[in-house]
């Protein structure tokens, strides 16, 4: 499995270095770092194999996290593990050590909290084999920062802890209590759209996630019902409202009982305490595309370019899109741009090489337009302009592009308390591209 883990900064210096197996020397890693800094290629490919040693890395801002191995490991597992490791650090940042990981995972933070990092590294991997990588669990017995000292002295509590760690419901500790029982669900969808220059839809896809935040007492049993076509089809009455949507694929948090879902498509689970991503899903059929864009580029005279843009929102007019942003790419030799629009503000931004049009609030079923006159400089005129696509960003609360709805959310606990439940919907622009 994994032979060593190291954290490397941009200069190629090793910040953290932990060996799990003997077959790798620090020298090899130093050499690799030197190479990685020297050549661009090594940095680009996430997996590199030199003399039977494999270097697998991910980059988080300026920090490179590198795993090495000499055996034929499962690469996707190592990568996923590295990503989870980052998540653990971020989680520790926010919960225990506010004084440590402030903001980002940067060089200073790592240097300051290296003891904590070593302690985490010791626990998450043993002999290079991934063990416990759940942030909530790790916090129970990682000592740095002086938290949880008390539990480690009480033997009875320790028993409980190791039971939780190795048990079937490892994500939820026993004996939680809340004064107010609350459950929040956020359905967040991002729309990936690719439209060709001829206005045909090449790809439309919604990648969604259901985020759960729970503050519940005891060991509650929860159930979620969505307007999933396969589930709805099984029920007897089929009125117009009960025709469901078809979901291509769903991925579930470990807490959801997969065999149960496989059998009758009901989603049941004992929620983890606090925040987690419960479900992620992908839908490619019958997507409600929220905005329709028409764009025309026309050259008036040699060094002038006119762009006309029309946007129409295609959602109910009692819903508002917010923070709408349209990036209209312009040639490299643009000097300035004169823009005219009825809604929002538009201006040319050099570093983005585009005219950026911002609209704070965009009502549903509404059409607006933008006209830009671009003055081009004489330089670089001959160079071909590789037209990047026009892209859009937006957020539309209380709207789902896929039409997904939560039909019910049940919480059952033997104490029989009342739970406050909140559900929110949001659609965002993901890779919302329009080729020119």
């Amino acid at each position: 499995m994994i032979s060593s883990l190291s954290f490397i900064n941009q200069k190629g210096e090793i910040l953290i270095y932990r060996v799990y197996k003997d077959d790798i020397s620090r020298n090899e890693i130093t050499q690799f770092c030197a190479k990685m800094i020297a050549t661009k290629e090594n940095k680009e490919f996430p997996i590199i194999n030199i003399d039977q040693t494999s270097f697998i890395h991910i980059s988080i801002k300026d920090i490179i996290i590198l795993a090495t191995t000499k055996t034929d490991v499962n690469v996707a597992m190592v990568l996923e593990f590295l990503y989870q490791l980052v998540l653990i650090f971020f989680d520790f940042k926010s919960k225990i050590c506010k004084s440590y990981f402030q903001g980002n995972l940067d060089e200073n933070c790592i240097k300051k909290s290296f003891v904590l990092i070593y302690e985490i590294l010791d626990e998450v991997l043993d002999y290079g084999i991934p063990q416990i990588a759940d942030p909530n669990l790790l916090q129970k017995f990682i000592q740095e920062g002086g938290v949880q000292q008390e539990t480690t002295i009480n033997i009875e509590k320790l028993r409980q802890l190791t039971f939780t760690l190795t048990g079937a419901v490892s994500w939820r500790p026993i004996g939680l209590y809340y004064e107010k029982n609350e459950l929040y669900l956020d359905i967040i969808e991002s729309v990936n759209l690719l439209i060709s220059a001829k206005d045909t839809v090449l790809r439309a896809e919604v990648v969604g996630s259901i985020e759960l935040k729970s503050k519940l007492t005891g060991m509650p049993e929860c159930q979620i019902g969505m307007n999933d076509k396969l589930l709805m089809g099984k029920q007897q009455k089929q009125t117009r409202q009960t025709i469901g949507i078809s979901i291509d694929d769903m991925k579930f948090h470990p807490c959801i009982r997969l065999p149960k879902f496989d059998k009758d498509r009901t989603i049941t689970f004992i929620p983890p305490d606090g925040h987690c991503q419960l479900i992620s899903y992908r839908i490619s059929e019958n997507i409600n595309i929220p905005f329709k864009v028409n764009v025309f580029y026309s050259e008036i005279i040699d060094n002038k370019l006119e762009i006309r843009l029309k946007i129409k929102s295609i959602y109910d007019n009692n819903i508002y899109g917010t923070n709408v942003l349209v990036k209209v790419p312009v040639p490299k030799n643009t000097v300035n741009a004169i823009t005219a629009t009825a809604l929002g503000k538009a201006r040319y931004e050099v570093e983005e090489q585009s005219v950026i049009w911002r609209i704070k609030k965009f009502q549903g079923d509404f059409e607006t337009s933008l006209r830009c006159e671009i003055n081009l400089g004489a330089t670089n005129k001959d160079q071909v302009w590789s037209k990047p696509p026009l892209r859009m960003e937006f957020q539309i609360p209380m709207f789902t592009a896929s039409g997904l709805r939560i039909r019910f959310l049940k919480v059952m606990e033997k104490a029989g308390y009342k739970t406050n439940k909140w559900i929110r919907y949001l659609t965002k622009g993901g890779e919302y591209l329009h080729r020119l």
Binding site: Q52, V75, Y83, A168, P254
Partner: protein, 677 residues
């Protein structure tokens, strides 16, 4: 507190030494942290070993962890001092009531990796494997391969214990670790250790539902190497694995896909197979748009294997592989590669339309790959030819500078012309190519240009002048280009004997003294031939040839017989580099597969038998026959040559020369064969 001071002074080690021996607990702790910090940046603090291990007497668990870290790092340098720690460890393992401390001790103990310490370890380890606490058990189980690696002779009893544990263990996490550690031992030992029976399989399947994601991966990964006894068993295992397709960890999903794909071969219910394929496909597609590019990359690298054995999975899904503008280039390259593989006579239009967009991107390397892909498609599918060529011609019209992409354009156009000589009649591609011919600067591209000039001299204005330029710079060119200039020069001479006589003279003069034997020999052969009988040369090098069978349609990465082994190892590093494990790692042995026939799952399903394979084999045979004929011709030519070559200065050279010529012609042949990958 800054632990990473750069200004370490001479007295610093002494200072640490003093602090470590201080009576104040806090001071000791700070000192140990400093020691670890020095260790991290690679400074040698091994002298402090004795003082550090003295601090072990405290029960503070944080400090213990740090000291253990230190010991693990330096135990091999100081084996004698490390013995002193043994008592501490044994005390922790046996006496401590705290399971965390017990586990920590046994874990660290295993990491010491000093052979002579291991004998002290065996007994406590045996106890820990039977510990009441699952957390200690799971740690102890992982400790066994650590010991085995260093001193295998001590382990027989332990291995037996592990096997027994496999029968009776009930905790899912321990079970998963057990499987993984036994597999690690199997790799070192090179012998199978785990004996599966239906009861254990049942247990493992249950454990999948209960253990954490990593454990699920270990078990799924292991089960993928197992050969089910019959269709019934395969069906049961697949049924239990199916829910994993919805796991949020992409690796769990991927391992489940792997396992199911492997077991499909054992099912004898055709409808079930189809249904399963329908279920797998969306999960795989989700993985392909995974938001972590590195993971996406590893999955993409494995797709070629899946495509080869299970074309059915990606039927009509070519859109999934379209590149988006902001993706990292390593993903774009993979996607391009896959798009060519997935392209067939039905969807080529869609693929070409997409490639047409990429051709305008900014990165020349990416554009180059795009052009190469378009070229491949043009050669593979006759129907796609016209469309592909028109895209390339459109690109050629807009070329304004010499970059990588332009080089590829010449190379691909040459290959296309070779296959479809009559293409020049249908469009103005030749004229446009010739107008940008000066941009060719890579050897391969230049040689392509030289070939085009020689082949189509009649249809290109000023072809002789251009060839004259090439001949002028002959000495400066690469060997590859020189060879092609020679051939093309001779072609020109045969086409325009009077116009090119000066040119051919100059060419032979500069080539006959070349340091490169290949170039020299070819010059002499042409020279002799021309002076003997130009008619022979005409028949020989101006042949309008190359049947389509010489262009391999086959773009398989894997040998069909390797498919099953490769599938078992899907997701591994060797697979990522498109190799079998034993090809990348010398010490790994690959299991032999009992299966004779490799099933290919195609969309039109009716004939599951590998009909396509046979077809390709036939193609290969034809190709071989043709090559043999060609070779025979070459030999005839050589025999014909021999009496004349007496003029040669060195008779000894003669044989060598012949050999060289032989190679030479072989090379020549090879150039004609379209090399796809």
């Amino acid at each position: 507190m800054a632990y990473f001071g750069n200004n370490q002074q001479r007295g610093e080690l002494q200072e640490l030494y003093a602090d470590l021996n201080d009576l104040n607990f806090e001071k000791k702790k700070e000192a140990i942290k400093k020691v670890i910090a020095y260790m991290t940046v690679g400074k040698d603090v091994s002298q402090l070993f004795q003082s550090v291990i003295k601090c072990l007497e405290f029960q503070d668990i944080e400090m213990k962890k740090l000291i253990y870290l230190y010991i693990v790092n330096y135990s091999r340098q100081k084996p004698d001092d490390a013995i002193m720690v043994i008592q501490n460890f044994r005390k922790d393992v046996r006496k401590s009531e705290n399971p965390l401390v017990r586990a920590l001790a046994i874990r660290t103990f295993g990491c010491l990796r000093v052979p002579k310490l291991n004998e002290y370890l065996i007994e406590p380890l045996k106890d820990c494997v039977q510990d009441d606490d699952p957390y200690v058990r799971k740690t102890a189980v992982l400790c066994v391969p650590k010991v085995f690696e260093v001193s295998p002779e001590l382990c027989p009893a332990l291995l037996e214990q592990l096997q027994k544990l496999l029968e009776k263990e009930s905790n899912a996490l321990v079970l998963a670790n057990l499987i993984q550690s036994m597999r690690e031992i199997e790799v070192v030992k090179g012998k199978q250790l785990i004996v599966l029976n239906p009861k254990i399989i049942q247990k493992l399947l249950l454990a999948i539902d209960e253990c954490m994601e990593w454990g699920q991966i270990f078990i799924l990964d292991y089960l993928a190497t197992y050969d089910p006894v019959d269709s019934k068993q395969a069906e049961i295992i697949i049924e239990r694995t199916l829910p994993r397709l919805s796991h949020i960890n992409p690796t769990v999903t991927f391992c489940a896909v792997k396992l199911i794909l492997k077991y499909l071969d054992y099912l004898n219910n055709g409808d079930l197979v189809k249904n399963l394929c329908k279920k797998i496909s969306p999960s795989l597609i989700s993985l392909l748009s995974w938001n972590q590019p590195e993971i996406q990359y590893t999955i993409l690298r494995n797709i070629s294997l899946i495509l080869q054995k299970f074309p059915i999975l990606f039927e009509n899904e070519v859109k999934v592989f379209f590149c988006s503008f902001n993706e990292p280039y390593y993903i774009k390259y993979e996607k391009l590669d896959i798009m060519v593989r997935i392209c067939d006579s039905k969807n080529f239009h869609q693929v070409l339309n997409e490639l047409m967009i990429y051709i305008n991107e900014a990165d020349p390397h990416f554009v180059r790959k795009t052009i190469k892909s378009i070229g491949k498609i043009a050669v593979m599918y006759d129907k796609a030819l016209a469309e592909a060529v028109s895209i390339l011609v459109e690109f050629a019209k807009n070329v304004q500078q010499a970059n990588e992409a332009v080089q590829e354009l010449f190379i691909q156009m040459q290959i296309i012309y070779r296959k479809n000589r009559n293409l020049y009649k249908t469009n103005d591609s030749l004229k446009i190519l010739f107008s940008i011919i000066d941009y060719a600067n890579e050897p391969e591209a230049k040689s392509a240009c030289a070939w085009i000039i020689g082949e189509f001299a009649e249809f290109i204005p000023k072809s002789v002048e251009k060839m004259g330029e090439y001949v002028d710079n002959f000495i400066l060119e690469d060997r590859l280009v020189q060879l092609q200039i020679l051939t093309s020069g001779v072609k020109l001479y045969i086409k325009y004997p009077s116009l090119c006589s000066a040119l051919i003279q100059q060419l032979i003069n500069s080539a006959k003294d070349s340091f490169n034997p290949d170039v020299r020999d070819r010059t002499y052969i042409y020279w002799r031939l021309l002076s003997t009988d130009p008619e022979i040369v005409k028949n020989l090098i101006c042949y309008v040839a190359v049947g389509s069978s010489q262009f391999q349609k086959d773009i398989r990465l894997w040998e069909t017989k390797d498919l099953i082994t490769a599938l078992e190892n899907m997701g591994s590093i060797s697979n990522l580099f498109h190799k079998l494990p034993n090809q990348l790692y010398k010490n790994i042995k690959v299991r032999n597969n009992n299966q004779q026939e490799v099933k290919i799952y195609k969309a039109d399903e009716k004939s599951e038998a590998p009909s396509k394979e046979q077809e390709i084999k036939k193609d290969d045979q034809i190709q071989q026959q043709q090559q043999q004929q060609q070779l025979k011709q070459d030999f005839d030519l050589l025999n014909f040559e021999e009496p004349v070559s007496n003029n040669n200065n060195n008779n000894n050279n003669n044989n060598n020369n012949n050999n060289n010529n032989n190679n030479n012609n072989n090379n020549n042949n090879k150039i004609d064969v379209y090399d796809l990958i």
